[in-house]
């Protein structure tokens, strides 16, 4: 086989707590990111993503502590995004135990931040996030502040620029679809994925397993990110792998992992 399609659960974290909690498994504390990370590690998630949605200066220490405690018990790649504005922010997360850092709003204002981090710490640790809304047929604009604030920046051009500046992969989220459970914006994902040589992670809108399949099949993504379908226990990571495998894509073998 070849490199597997990655299935990546994403946890929104605010002030050290997972925002919506999870209920796919009995946890002593369903809001503790470390407990949840352990559960996803055991469930065979290919990677895990923490998105810090507070990202205030005060909450930074809390986040670093969570990352550090997660890295002690989880042996899968961990991406941490939210509030990364400087090379030092990125370095602090990597030293705490993150494998990759997500860069979003700050790179809208100053795309060179991606190059700065890539040059110091390597492209492999830079996940450049693009949050976009469709503004016309075949045209998307970058939105910040959780999709509320337009930026007048063309999303596809921005994504290509971040790839050129040295991002290791792109996390492309449709803010139109985020939270809807209607499926990824496949045109957006594919338009970007077809024009870059780095992997693209599809994000925003997953409600069913066939949405994950479509993300790869029609969106040409290398990885699929989802939140609520996993957290609410609607589907497991193994279900996601099975659906992708059935559609003919390479996925990990859960039998082997036990």
């Amino acid at each position: 086989m070849t490199v597997r399609v990655r299935v990546i659960p994403c946890l929104d974290v605010a002030d050290g707590r997972v925002v919506k909690g999870v209920n796919f498994v009995d946890l002593r504390d369903a809001g503790d990111p470390v407990e949840i990370a352990k559960a996803y590690d055991a469930a065979g998630a290919d990677e895990l993503c923490f998105l810090d949605i507070t990202a205030t200066h005060e909450a930074r220490g809390t986040l670093l502590d969570i990352v550090s405690r997660t890295a002690e018990v989880c042996f899968m790649p961990l991406t941490v995004g939210g509030g990364v504005r400087t090379v030092e922010d990125a370095r602090a997360l990597l030293l705490a135990g993150a494998d990759k850092v997500g860069v979003n709003s700050a790179a809208v204002v100053r795309p060179a931040l991606v190059a700065d981090i890539a040059e110091r710490m390597g492209s492999q640790c830079v996940v450049a996030s693009v949050d976009a809304r469709q503004v016309a047929p075949g045209k998307w604009e970058v939105f910040t502040h959780g999709g509320r604030k337009p930026t007048d920046v063309d999303a596809v051009a921005h994504a290509l620029n971040l790839a050129r500046l040295g991002a290791g992969e792109l996390l492309v989220t449709s803010m139109d679809r985020d939270g809807t459970q209607d499926g990824y914006d496949l045109d957006l994902i594919r338009t970007i994925a077809d024009q870059v040589t780095i992997p693209v992670i599809a994000s925003g809108g997953v409600g069913r397993l066939d949405h994950l399949v479509a993300g790869v099949c029609e969106g040409h993504a290398s990885a699929v990110l989802a939140a609520s379908i996993f957290h609410f226990g609607t589907f497991s990571v193994a279900d996601a792998h099975a659906a992708l495998g059935k559609a003919g894509f390479p996925v990990r073998n859960h039998a082997q992992d036990g």
Binding site: T2, F75, G122, S123, E169, T197, S222
Partner: protein, 204 residues
Amino acid sequence: MGNGSIALIDYSAGNLQSVRNALKTAGAENVVVTARAEDVLAADRIVLPGVGAFAHCMGALSALPGMVEALNEATGTKARPFLGICVGMQLMAEAGEEHGVTPGLSWIKGRVRALRPAGPATKIPHMGWNDVLPTAPHPLIETGEAYFLHSFAFEGADVLANTDHAGPVVAAIGVGNRIGVQFHPEKSQKYGLAFLERFLEWTP
């Protein structure tokens, strides 16, 4: 007695915490994170992690006083078990071709070259879980799935395992008491921890 002391080399080019956590979980009793040559000479086992670019990593390793000589002695005449991870494996080669040609530790004949995309569908970096397919019998290398993350790959002798990314890509190399893996055992869940357990028990 157990598995003795492990020198985990800190040359500001590795995901040290992750490797240290994984070694401890795999049963390592005494992991010494160190940038000092004397610690490497005193250790029972040596682990060289590494992320980033070959030239930067080799430069950082060479900048530690006496470190390259200590590595040569500890893994040469002293024959201590050595594990290189990712760029730590690549440094075992004669040279790397990332940002110009940089000489490596030259323990194994071969060079580290850029992965070439076979087409637009082949993404670089090679990122994610992929096969470890043994090409030669070795007590540490078992068939399985591990996590890879790299844009450059080793091409040369003493290959122990391959993976596949639009063609064979070297996944492990080694001779005698030295082994290097392109994948990240510290990020490869059960497969990775089992690999590290075998390394800790390895008596080459």
